[in-house]
Subunit: 414 residues, 2 copies
Amino acid sequence: MEKVEQIAKKAKKAAPSIALATITERNEALTKMADALIDEKRFLLTENQKDIDEAEQKGTPKPLIDRLLLTEERIADMAEGMWQLVQLPDPINQTLETIERPNGLTMEKRVVPFGVFGMIYEARPNVTVDACALAIKTGNAVVLRGSASAMHSNKAIVTVLKQALTNTTINTACIQLIDDPSREEANRFMKLKGDIDVLIPRGGASLIQTVVNEATIPVIETGVGNCHVYLSKHADLELATSIIVNAKTQRPSVCNASETLLLDQGFADRHLQKIAETLIEKGVTLKGDENARAIFPHMLQADEEDWRTEYLDLTLAIRCVANLEEAIDHINEYGTKHSEAIVTEKDSERDYFFQAVDAAVVYHNASTRFTDGFEFGFGAEIGISTQKLHARGPMGLQALTTYKYTVKGTGQIK
Amino acid sequence: MEKVEQIAKKAKKAAPSIALATITERNEALTKMADALIDEKRFLLTENQKDIDEAEQKGTPKPLIDRLLLTEERIADMAEGMWQLVQLPDPINQTLETIERPNGLTMEKRVVPFGVFGMIYEARPNVTVDACALAIKTGNAVVLRGSASAMHSNKAIVTVLKQALTNTTINTACIQLIDDPSREEANRFMKLKGDIDVLIPRGGASLIQTVVNEATIPVIETGVGNCHVYLSKHADLELATSIIVNAKTQRPSVCNASETLLLDQGFADRHLQKIAETLIEKGVTLKGDENARAIFPHMLQADEEDWRTEYLDLTLAIRCVANLEEAIDHINEYGTKHSEAIVTEKDSERDYFFQAVDAAVVYHNASTRFTDGFEFGFGAEIGISTQKLHARGPMGLQALTTYKYTVKGTGQIK
């Protein structure tokens, strides 16, 4: 098995060639890669089965096995994703700005690929395919560090995709997979600043935390969402109910689902009982503060820990607040700067919430579930950034690019 | 002395108020701060003298004492810098993009302040003033961690500036100084992710390296410049000579000065002797590879270590290369992605160099010394980013902002 240092060097060396490839060449490569996935689906399914067998022997929980599983349909969806990517405009090589200086220098700010990005992720073979496709489209090289438990699948996918690139102008070295799944290699990988330009972790909170703590490569943090819905005293009851039901129950396992319901005390006095009954009917377990339980006693006691918890299941924390200010303070204290919603009929409350809440996406009279690249019309999604550097919220292809200044002179000195 | 955790919390708590301040309020605060520097110059000079005395007792080298020194003129320059900042347009609150979705959601991408940024820097009181001024202009709170050896000066400056804010609508808590200069406090400070949104180190390579290694807060890396000038065989001799002389000698201690001269072998055969003589006349010490020394023996032997060195003095490494490709390989291997120049009369060489060299700023027929915010017309400069995330090259006010999406709905659920 190759050391991460060698692997990263190979990617770095290959990066300039793909940065220079035309959009036609990159799209052609994507098409060939998509075709190869379909053509080689039997091989992919066989290799994936080995991972599934090992996972079952280890007693891996069903939802995790499901995430690991490849099927004919899923492979077709991955290929379809690549074809869709072909349709999107070239994300690189535009001139963002031209600056003419009094001394005659002409400066152009041009969009360019990062160079090499790294992905660290859990046992999801679809992330392997996505990352390779996004790398080729954006003119980047990529180094993949997947999970040991998906190694057969990841190796098979990378073999198929690199094989497809041999019939194109794109250097196969632009795709690199770390095949030693040890923690030591991963730790050294995260410190290869200079060879890897940016690192994107995808997975649960603990994976992301580890990468943030260990990496010296700049990181784009994604995905942890402790999202809130706040119902003002000026909220419409029907609209409020449908939004919190949707935000909590439509797909509770994802980061843009809501975890805490905040209600204006007066609104709660009038309507919490009815809202709580509706949520319980939908299978939601409620955990309330004192004030909420005073109105509707059939819920568990919520404590400080609940305000911080991303349940990712059908549990909802409920807290009554005195006013909009208190709701905002709660969100800014406990939220993860992901997605936050207010339900109100009053524009001034909406505007204040929009300004004062510190989050990537703030909603008025809509569910937090809309925070994703496709709902934003980006056509592709890298992840949802919860940091403020570089990219915030849903990230499209642009998030895998940077810029450089080119300066044309005629002998200018200072 | 307060713990960094408490200091950071205070800044975080104050941040929303300054984000909501109008540009008129922020500019008024800047004007009052500038006036206060002038009014309190005697106090500032007295306190600064304490730092100078201590530094002299410790035998601090002269250039470092000079960087630490405040004078009436320097204080006037700092105030002038603030008045100039007042003239610049509001860096926040613009709408970058409006997205109307088929489901009726209206999404706006709005420029907002980071919230709280942290600065870690060496014994330069002017950075304290700059950071506070930039924070107020961009609607951010700031936490300052200066050097122990500038503590009297930093405390005095912060006292004066906060005093000035008491007569404005801006919360004085937006400016925070860490007054315990111990390394333990600094190390904990760098890990206050969640309270500090971004960390900007300013200083030498080792300070920056420490911050990159230790911080969990996202970092904007600045300032290390191992810059090159490459003379192609199609270079104009006169222009080439004036550019390398300027890039090396005009101010050798700064990051955009050049450290290595690369020459096409054919060009070197014809012209290196003359160029070398000119450089030596200007006081430059030359260190060449075998090929360069074969042409002009009066230089020291350069080795691998020289290609990596940011001399920051009147030393220049010289290497002959076979062609443009070899020059680009050298730069991408040893450069720090800061500023790189080619001298050539051939547009095709220029264009290829622009594309293939991985640096924030690439120059054609101009000195690398132009890489700074003022030369780029930004009016203010935060530093020069050598990373690719968020901001690259000279950073203006925009680099201290991020964006958020506001989404207006009418009850949309997914």
